[in-house]
């Protein structure tokens, strides 16, 4: 561990409160920082980001865990970890020169007085204040004072610069200038820096990595974002970089999520049991897509109530991240999710494993791959044409959008690309973008194409920004689209509710599959609380397609039918292999066990039996795919090994036991 520059392991900080109580500000903080990195700590007020900074500075020591600098425990403050405070902390009775000199004279004692004088002047010159060198801090502006503080900090040549909201009290214009100046200085001197901030743009512009802290008490690292914007950075160039807004929205999403968590914590909902069901007050999450029809219908047409779930409220999330976090934190009871997500979460895709079960496949098909219209003009009609274009311009980065690593869109797009010898990570760059943003990004030209569920393909087509190059039916006809997902511990705690929920949604699926209801469903989905999009973009299935547009019928959702809703282990296994193939999750050694726990066919069977549907015997048939290969569940490891384009595949034992207790 000594090769780590700054190493924080399981650090925690508790403050004693009056009356023998204590406040746990930070808990289980793990963070490693490389030499020369610029790190931002971001989070809501009171999340302990300054506390963490002070722990590294040694001004307030960790009450538990390790905080090391170059392998040495931090046991107190020292000039190798110089701090730039929010309110400058210049001594007002000393001139600019004397302020810097005080630090330099104390720290660089091995240098001669002449050398020290030269250093003082050099650093004051670096921040452009040589003209004010003999002024008192009261005679210069706030921005200038902070520059002096930065000069003072850098002049003593610290190993790491610790900045505590350095620009917090400055006006926007000055702040912008200083951000750029500090970025430049850090790039030139190569000094490592850790900055506490609550400004999202500041964090994205300046950092190599953004460390996001969750809300206290017991704040931890909620996520770390790599900022891949090249250096040297200039504000205007950085803002135009395609990653900029994505990173920005990631951070904002995180901060909003934290705010929600706080709100949810404040209102603890008691469990309401009724009609022999353990819990009838459910929060069901969905993402506004045409495929969310069963959930919308179950609510609007009273299928939830019919099966005794009379207090269901729907939670609209704009991205799958919201669903994942809602389930992990226990704020939603169940959700519509991409078919790969139950396994992805079970296998630890989001960082830690949250066992999820699925008892129902709610839709199949409904996806397509859309490319920018400009490729059509270049004569791209097939995948082979697309590969030619990519091969012809290797220097040009091509980006495509997918909604989530575990979504079928991602897996199908990758499979489709790889089938033509295109490496989806090397020849292309796949970006994770919320569904609703795809069409906007395509129009803006920040992505060259996407694979997503409707209405977004249809919309790009109708707005003449993109064209559909492949439909999912061409890649894998009848692939699972969206499934119902619940936490394993939730399902174990409320088994009858789980069955009732499956029944309600199965009923709704059947309602959605009836072409006679298509018009009504489209009207419901078009409403603001669901998709909030004009009706002509919402098409359900080929049979239900009402010839309102001249476009080819690309919408082909299948909501019910023979074998449509039954969760299939073979299908889940295929997705497991694909996610392992692309390095998103490890492949579990105990894959049979994992599959059985995740794919709850039993719940589905009970539900459909209770609905009076004849149970179709389970046939373990193989899956046929675009490249003509057949996938069978016999030997997934051999299958993985046989693939040519893949990432490094890791194997792991995934413990499937009784899950955590429901929150």
């Amino acid at each position: 561990m000594s090769e780590q520059f700054i190493h924080i392991e399981n650090a925690e900080k508790t403050f004693p409160l009056g009356g023998g109580k204590e406040y746990n500000a930070l808990k289980g903080i793990n963070l490693s920082i490389k030499q020369g990195e610029f790190i931002s700590l971001i989070g809501h007020s009171g999340c302990g980001k300054s506390t963490l900074l002070n722990m590294i500075a040694g001004l307030s020591l960790a009450t538990g865990g390790l905080v090391q600098l170059e392998g040495m425990m931090v046991s107190g403050p020292g000039p190798d970890r110089m701090v730039v405070f929010q309110n400058y902390s210049l001594l007002p009775w000393l001139t600019v020169r004397d302020n810097v000199a005080l630090a330099v004279d104390e720290v660089l004692t091995e240098k001669s007085p002449e050398e020290r004088k030269e250093i003082v002047e050099r650093y004051i010159k670096m921040v452009g204040l040589i003209g004010s060198i003999d002024k008192l801090p009261t005679e210069i502006s706030g921005g200038m004072r902070q520059r002096v503080a930065i000069a003072r900090a850098l002049a003593i040549q610290p190993k790491v610069l610790l900045l505590d909201e350095p620009f917090g009290v400055l006006d926007a214009l000055t702040r912008g200038k200083l951000q750029e100046q500090l970025t430049r200085i850090c790039e030139e001197t190569g000094v490592s820096a850790i900055m506490v901030t609550h400004e999202v743009d500041e964090a994205v512009l300046m950092s190599d990595r953004i460390v996001m802290l969750t809300n206290g008490p017991g704040s931890k690292v909620g996520g770390i974002l790599e900022v891949d914007i090249p250096r040297p950075r200039k504000r205007l160039e950085a803002v135009r970089h395609p990653s900029y807004y994505q990173l920005r929205s990631e951070v904002i999403y995180f901060l909003n999520q934290q705010k929600q968590v706080k709100k949810m914590r404040a209102r603890k909902v008691p469990v309401v049991s009724r009609h022999g069901l353990e819990k009838v007050n459910l929060e069901i999450g969905f993402v506004p897509l045409t495929a969310c029809a069963p959930i919308a219908i179950a609510q609007e047409k009273g299928f939830f109530t019919k099966h005794g779930l009379d207090e269901v409220s729907l939670v609209r999330e704009s991205s799958w991240r919201g669903i994942v976090d809602g389930l992990r934190n226990g704020f939603i009871d169940g959700a519509q999710m991409p078919s790969g997500m139950p396994l992805w979460m079970t296998l630890g895709g989001p960082g830690e494993s949250t066992p999820i079960v699925s008892s129902l496949t709610m839709s199949r098909n409904g996806n397509a791959i859309t490319l920018d219209r400009r490729f059509l003009e270049q004569g791209v009609h097939t995948l082979a044409d697309f590969k030619k274009v990519l091969d012809a311009s290797p220097e040009k980065p091509h980006r495509m959008g997918v909604v989530h690593p575990s979504s079928m869109h991602n897996l199908l797009l990758r499979y489709w690309l790889a089938s033509a010898g295109i490496d989806p990570d090397k020849d292309l760059e796949l970006k994770q973008i919320p569904p609703a943003q795809m069409a906007v990004d395509l129009k803006a030209g920040t992505i060259d194409g996407f694979c997503v569920g409707d209405p977004w393909n249809l919309r790009a087509e109708m707005e003449h920004t993109g064209f559909t190059i492949a439909r999912d039916v061409d890649i894998w006809s009848g692939h699972p689209g969206k499934v119902l997902g619940c936490r394993a511990d939730w399902a174990a705690a409320y088994p009858n509710t789980h069955i009732a929920l499956t029944k309600a949604l199965l009923d709704a699926c059947q309602y959605c599959a009836d072409p006679a209801n298509a018009q009504e469903i489209r009207e419901i989905l078009a409403r603001r609380e669901y998709l909030g999009t004009p009706m002509e973009y919402i098409q359900l299935s080929p049979e239900a397609n009402i010839a309102e547009t001249e476009h080819q019928p690309i919408a082909h959702h299948v909501f019910a039918g023979e074998g449509v809703n039954r969760p299939s282990r073979t299908e889940h296994l295929w997705q497991m292999t694909q996610m392992a193939r692309w390095g998103d999750v490890p492949f579990p050694r105990n894959w049979v066990e994992v599959l059985e726990a995740t794919c709850q066919v039993g719940v589905f069977s009970t539900a459909s039996r209770e609905l009076g549907q004849t149970e179709i015997s389970y046939i373990r048939n193989s899956i046929e795919l675009v490249d003509g290969t057949k996938f069978s569940a016999e030997d997934p490891i051999a299958y993985l090994n046989s693939l040519e384009i893949k990432r490094d595949i890791t194997m792991a034992e995934i413990p499937i036991g009784p899950g955590r207790k429901a929150a």
Binding site: P77, P92, I156
Partner: protein, 275 residues
């Protein structure tokens, strides 16, 4: 409109006469009115207090007024000598109080244990009025002169001590953090951070103390007979019913008090330039 016009004031030798006039006129009127009412009241015999004109009409007082430097030996000296004698006492005791007060204040401010131990005692002693110290100091020291000095000292020391201690305790965390991070030496910390940072508080204490000690000298001298000093001068004049002399002495005391305060203000401005 005034922005485009030159200043309206008439300038004379670099001094803005109009502004000076505006600044001086209201207090002049107020003082004149006050003196007139006083004079009126004493002329109409509503009060037995002689009016301000008695400073000139009363012969003894006139002598004192016009010849402040006479010295007939003993305690029969001009007002200047009387005042000077009092000021000397204040100077000695005040200096002592400043040294002890600032020193102890810093010690208390930097040592939480000391602060805990001594705070209650100081808070208690501080509330004892100067006059109450007189009998104790007389009893303890037996002589007039040292007793007077002690009373001034004990009056002046508390505000200095307490303000200094607060000033040291209130050094902003940021300054202390900077000192901790760059690991400043003790000596440098004292002179570059502690002292300058506590200085405004110390000066507040010093200014309060100078007013208090000037108050205390009068009290101390009144009861200590046979010494030269403005306090005893007042007491003696009262005993002999020379009330207009008392009035004159009051004018002196007021003026000296004002000058002392202004002096401290000036000193503070000089030392803390730019802060």
């Amino acid at each position: 409109m005034s922005a485009s016009l030159p200043s309206k004031g008439t300038m004379f030798a670099g001094v803005n006469i109009t502004k000076l006039w505006k600044d001086l006129l209201p207090p002049t009127i107020a003082i004149t009115l006050f003196l007139l009412i006083w004079e009126g009241l004493s002329q109409s015999k509503v009060t037995l207090l002689p009016g301000p004109s008695s400073l000139f009409t009363d012969e003894r007082t006139r002598t004192l007024l016009f010849f402040p430097f006479y010295d007939r030996g003993g305690i029969d000296k001009g007002m200047f000598w009387q005042t000077l004698a009092s000021l000397q006492r204040v100077a000695i005791s005040y200096t002592l109080a400043a040294i002890v007060g600032i020193g102890t204040g810093i010690a208390i401010g930097t040592t939480p244990l000391l602060s805990k131990a001594l705070d209650p005692l100081f808070l208690f002693l501080r509330t004892v009025p100067p006059l109450a110290w007189v009998p104790i100091s007389l009893a303890a020291l037996n002589k007039n002169e040292p007793a007077a000095l002690f009373v001034i000292f004990i009056t002046a020391v508390w505000p200095i001590l307490i303000n200094t201690a607060v000033g040291v305790r209130e050094i902003p965390d940021d300054y202390n953090n900077v000192a901790k991070v760059i690991q400043v030496s003790k000596q440098k910390y004292f002179f570059k951070i502690l002292l300058p940072s506590a200085l405004p508080y110390i000066f507040t204490g010093l200014r309060v103390a100078i007013s208090l000690s000037w108050l205390a000298i009068i009290a101390a001298e009144i009861v200590m007979s046979g010494i030269v000093g403005i306090g005893f001068f007042i007491w003696e004049a009262y005993q002999n019913n020379y009330i207009s002399e008392v009035v004159l002495a009051l004018v002196y005391i007021g003026m000296v008090g004002l000058l002392l305060d202004k002096f401290m203000e000036w000193l503070q401005a000089q030392i803390m330039k730019g802060q």
